[in-house]
């Protein structure tokens, strides 16, 4: 079997965040792969919700986007965007997955602008459902490659709330969700200190070191007291990923390392 790629580590780690019977708010790309993998293994009862208004699609072909007709066809309910998003506010969504252009030590995300808001250097797509998921899902997971330009001391625009300024800040803002629980990167799995709410290193992929992770992060980041090594994914999971869920490697790159 080919060497395990960083994308494959990320997909497997993301999949593990989903519990059986969770209602999961899913976007395109790695989160979709992770959700399909979870549904095929430890979480057959996971209920997938897409911001386009599609509930519980039959995972036959990997979709090109959250509004893709291969998701709509054979779903158990088709509604609209308000319906899907209002499930978040109702408290029905257990977990959501988010990507980001920037993330800070409190898990706050920027997907809006690089540079000043009114004359940005780079105008990014904007929040979409990301802010809604982060504000209202019971918990959320960030998937982001480690990079000093991405893991920054201060996001240039706070699109999506992590722990905001730290302990108690989400509660003060009236955000119903508990905030980020995990940041799945291409070198390590990161979490948040239960009291400090600051990001920390929880699991290192094989061959990675604390120093390498810290070097790719522009803010100071410590290891969790319970730091562990992430084992190589088992062959069954890899086979599912490579042969069933994303056979063309559209979202999950192969053998990059």
């Amino acid at each position: 079997m080919a060497e395990v790629s960083r994308d494959e580590y990320m997909a497997v780690a993301a999949s593990r965040e989903i519990r059986d019977s969770d209602t999961a708010f899913i976007g395109t790309g790695l989160p979709m792969v992770a959700a399909y993998l979870a549904k095929a293994t430890h979480a057959p009862r996971v209920n997938l919700v897409f911001e386009s208004g599609i509930i519980d699609p039959r995972p036959v072909d990997l979709a090109t986007g959250v509004g893709d007709y291969r998701l709509a066809h054979g779903s158990t309910k088709i509604a609209g965007t308000f319906y899907a998003l209002s499930l978040l506010q109702q408290g029905k969504v257990d977990i959501g997955f988010l990507g980001t252009a920037e993330i800070d030590a409190y898990g706050n995300l920027n997907s809006t602008v690089i540079g000043p808001y009114h004359r940005p250097k780079v105008r990014l797509p904007g929040s979409g459902g990301a802010n809604d998921i982060a504000s209202m899902a019971k918990r959320f997971v960030v998937i982001a490659r480690l990079d000093r330009k991405r893991f920054v001391e201060k996001v240039q625009y706070l699109t999506t709330p992590g722990f905001l300024t730290g302990p108690g800040a989400r509660e003060a803002a009236g955000l119903p969700g508990a905030g980020p629980v995990r940041v799945i990167s291409d070198r390590a799995i990161l979490g948040f200190g239960p009291d400090s709410k600051r990001m920390r290193i929880e699991r290192l992929y094989p061959g990675e070191t604390l120093a390498a992770v810290q070097e790719h992060c522009a803010f100071p980041i410590e290891a969790s007291p319970s730091l562990e090594a992430e084992p190589e994914p088992d062959a069954h999971l890899l086979r599912l990923l490579r042969e069933v869920i994303d056979p063309k490697g559209v979202y999950v790159g192969r053998g990059e390392r």
Partner: protein
């Protein structure tokens, strides 16, 4: 009962309902059911200083930005899934040519919903604590949203104000001449957009008898009382798709995406596909029957078996 007059109008006439300086909202989500034949007609006719009130109609926003017709945009996300950023739109924002007011999807939908429900505000729980509320685009921050306490206790919510677009343009599957509109698949934000808008224009793949509508009243998205004009535009969402009819045209989208990297290439593209074709049927002829038929969905699956991932 007695005959009732038709709301069927030509594309040219419908597009005239959008004046320069008007505010517009458009249906669709990602690569699905965006009213792009209508957008091309607006580009052909030429408009300026348009305001968009948008959730996910990325292609409408991109083409209007590419044509230099946009002034302001209230929105939550423009992104071509599988391709990347909307390039002309993003460049226009970076150049300061288009002013933006950011929201979350739920924030935008809630503002449209407030208008559609006839309410002066809508309470909601997202967006709090972020720069979406802290940094003003072109709207005074306290006109967009306010933190407020529930009248029944200490719970804090965000009240957002209504957005009332002058015109909503929706592309759907089918309608009758009275304006009863049906759409299969996800309904995106159409309900909220149509109810919020002053004038509602619907372009459709098929015009059917009211009897056809009455056979599946559960599938009616907009009843006639919500609709002002109906335009018959088969393939009217191309190059995006319509559920049950045709999938999005990835090759055409990719061509545009390549062209949109530079302003001159974009101009050439717009000349060829909008300005250069007198009307929508010339556009379809230019695409050619072979291509249009290839986009037709597998009737058993409702989509094309071979997905093109960008």
């Amino acid at each position: 009962m007695a005959a009732t007059p038709s709301k069927l109008v030509s594309l040219v006439e419908a597009a005239q309902a959008v004046a320069s300086g008007a505010s517009l909202t458009a249906g669709g989500f990602a690569h699905s059911h965006q009213p792009l034949a209508f957008t091309r007609e607006l580009i052909r006719q030429g408009r300026s200083r348009l305001t968009l009130m948008s959730v996910a109609e990325c292609w409408v926003a991109e083409f209007l930005a590419a044509a230099g017709m946009l002034e302001k945009v209230y929105f939550s996300n423009f992104m071509f899934e599988g391709y990347g950023r909307c390039q002309r739109f993003s460049k226009a924002v970076e150049a300061g040519a288009v002013a933006v007011e950011d929201h979350s999807h739920f924030g935008m939908v809630s503002r449209l919903m407030a208008a559609g429900l006839g309410l002066p505000f809508m309470p909601m729980k997202a967006m709090a604590g972020t720069d979406i509320l802290a940094i003003s685009g072109f709207e005074p921050p306290d006109r967009k949203a306010r933190r407020m306490q529930s009248p029944f206790g200490h719970e804090v919510v965000t009240a957002v104000s209504p957005l009332r677009p002058d015109v909503a343009v929706i592309h759907a599957a089918r309608a009758d001449r009275l304006g009863n509109v049906q759409l299969f698949g996800t309904t995106s934000v159409i309900e909220e957009q149509a109810r919020a808008a002053g004038t509602v224009i619907v372009t459709v793949e098929e015009i059917v008898d009211t009897d056809i509508i009455r056979r599946q009243p559960e599938m009616t998205l907009l009843p006639a009382l919500m609709v002002d004009m109906v335009v018959h535009l088969p393939y009217g969402a191309h190059p995006t798709g319509v559920y049950g009819y045709y999938d999005h045209d990835s090759a055409h989208l990719a061509d545009y995406y390549a062209a949109s990297r530079t302003e001159p290439d974009t101009a050439v593209w717009l000349d060829r596909w909008a300005h250069g074709l007198p009307d929508h049927f010339d556009y379809l002829d230019a695409l050619g029957m072979t291509r249009l038929l290839q986009l037709r969905v597998d009737p058993a699956l409702g989509y094309l078996r071979e997905a093109s991932h960008g």
